[in-house]
Structure formats: C-alpha cells, structure tokens
Subunit: 212 residues, 2 copies
C-alpha cells in the first residue's frame, strides 16, 4: 500500500461508478439541477488531453425545436443504419437506441476547429484529439452515475448535418449527442446484452503478453 | 436528490479521482501488485463501447529488450516531433514526455482488426471505436489514481512500427503506450502547465447554448 492510495470508501466509489455506469436510453422527465450539470461539465473538463489542447466544446440544447430537429436527424440515421445491417434490420429497429426527446438535458460534444495547430502527441496519431475528448465524456459519465443520473452517448448522426444545424465553425466535428437525466432504474447489465443483441466477452480474451 | 445517488464519500472518491488524475511521466521502481493490475484492466474492460464491440486489446510488456525497443522508437518520434514544432524545438526537447524505462508496468493498447464488421453507431462515425477504447483507458487511469498509482499515456510513436514490433494482426492499430507505476508525488497540476509549455483555459470558454 502507498500514501497516495484513496481510503476504502473513496476507492469503492470509483469502482462502483465504473461498474454501474450504463449507456442509458430511458429517462424520467425530472429536471437536472443546474449546479449538478455544472459539476458534470467541470468533471469532463478536468480530463487530461494530448499536449493539453483541451479539444472539446459542449453545446447545451435548450430550444425545443432544435431538440426535435436533432431527433429527426438521428431517426434518419437510425433507418440508414438498420438498412446497412441487412439481415438484422428488423431486430435493430426494435432496439431503443436513444432518449433524445425524453432526457432532461441534451448536449452535443464537438472537436474544435484549428486542431491542426496542435502537433504535440499528434504528429503520427492525429486522432488523439478524439481520444482526449472521449476521456472527458467518460469523466462526465462516471460523475453522472455518482450523482444518480443516467447518460447515453448517441453516435447515430451525420456529423456534417449536425455541424450545420448548430452553426459549428469549419474544421470542427461533432462526436457525441449526450442524453442526460434522471432514470427510473440503471440497466443491471448493458442494454444490448439484455436485448440479446450481442454478448460481452470476458477480459482474458483481450489481454496478451509481449505480442498480440 | 434521488435513490440512485452515491453516498457522500463514494461521490467524493469519484470527483477526487477525476481531479487528481495526472498524465504521469515520473515513476518509482517499486512493482505493481498483480491483483491491482488485474483490477485496473478489469476497470478498463468495464467501459461501455459502441454497439458493445469492445474494441480494445491490452499487451503487457514484460521483456526487457522489447521495452527498450519501444523506448528507442518513442525517442525517435520525440525528435521528429521536436523538429516539427520548429521554433519550440529546444523547449520541447527539455520536457519529460514519457517514463517508459522507469515505470513498473508497460502496456500497449490497440484497436483490434476486423472493426469494419461493426456498423452499429459507426456508419457515419467509424472513429467511435477509438472513442470507446479511450473511455476504457480513462477508467483505468481513474482506478489507478484511486489505488495511488500513476499512469501516463504516450502517443509519440509510429503506429505501423509498433504494430510490427508486437506482431499485431493487419487491421489492428496501437493507440497508446501506457506507463503505470508507483510515483513519489502526483503533479499538483498538469505537468505541461508546471513546465510553462501551455496554460489550460477555463470551462466557460468551452460551453455554449444551442449553437457554437
């Protein structure tokens, strides 16, 4: 043991958030406290980032019409994805894949423009900006779970259409539609497992030593 | 307040891990307990993933020669990055950007091959596999902090060279060299700020409403 280790309850909190975080698609209509929303955005913003470039931007959607436009856009992509899945089309169409109209808070996360100026850690891996932004979203997801709030990451959209809808600058790129809000229950396991879409495989299939 | 909210100490643990996690480059030689390493990998593996595809693979490096080869490869990229930074070359060369030879555990994380089979949530945003893998790494980073262990994400490498070195299948792609281990102190703020490389900007510059 070492002096930097958290105490037992704090550690339990971290592991519990990791274990019980779910990609949520079912929400209750109750509003999210503004202070809590700010804490969650702050948690996201505390993520590390490649070369400290902080490659993220959060757009809170409060206009009802805009939320509906986003919903329609996602619905279009949902149908296109279903078609692309061919023999699983019907099965996919039965899944609930987003909670855009029901969730209390809707946020869009985007990579900013002018990312090409950042070379540190990105000369050979330019996609590290997305990796950093995903770390920020994971922070937010875990903090939301600790607050008892559910969050879902929707990636069923045409980035160019969403960028235009939200007047994003050229060079920026939306990466997530986040549905956030109170929930009746957190899924006891990933919803895609509960719905028999697929089965998660155990850790030992993903670890090797010294070579693949 | 709601019934799903964690208790105060558990919540404090989550926020503390988020606030005190650092991208570490300075390590102590003490070994990492095998059980703790397994817990950290399990924490990573508990991340959600687009369509539940679990797009990650962890390679633990235990051969000394291999670790040294990885170090040399990163050292080459460090010099190339420095050149690419032009007028900041000297300043960059003075930064400590990795702890590959000092850390107790060295891991490489890669996206797997055959990712093109996964269409769910990736038809228009194929890069969501990387986003999921980054969420897994963030889980591991936070769990490591809770255990009092430091972790650093090194992205200064040529993915093709590293893939060959570790005999990765065609179509897979390494995204991170993770340095993990005990540390003397966690940096009180991001090291790139302490070294005056750059300054983090506050959250309010990254949030807007209904449009960019």
């Amino acid at each position: 043991m070492n002096k930097h280790r958290f105490n037992e309850l704090e550690r339990a909190g971290v592991y519990k958030a990791i274990a019980e975080r779910r990609d949520m698609r079912h929400f209750l209509p109750d509003p999210v406290d503004a202070k809590i929303l700010h804490k969650l955005l702050q948690a996201a913003h505390r993520a590390g980032s490649v070369g400290l470039m902080q490659p993220w931007h959060f757009i809170r959607i409060t206009e009802k019409k805009l939320r509906n436009d986003i919903y329609q856009m996602v619905e279009q992509e949902r149908r296109k994805t279903a078609k692309a899945l061919a023999e699983r089309e019907d099965e996919f169409m039965k899944l609930k894949v987003e909670g855009i109209l029901e969730c209390a808070e809707l946020l869009v996360v985007a990579l900013p423009d002018k990312r090409e100026q950042h070379i540190f850690g990105r000369r050979t891996l330019p996609e590290m900006d997305l990796a950093s932004a995903a770390c920020a979203i994971q922070n937010m997801w875990l903090a939301a779970r600790a607050e008892g709030l559910g969050m879902g990451w929707v990636s069923l959209f045409e980035p160019k259409v969403l960028a235009d809808l939200l007047k994003m600058p050229k060079g920026s790129r939306p990466i997530a539609i986040l549905c956030l809000g109170h929930v009746d229950e957190f899924y006891p396991q990933p919803m895609l497992e509960m719905e028999n879409w697929t089965k998660a495989r155990p850790l030992d299939e993903f670890v090797s030593e010294n070579e693949w």
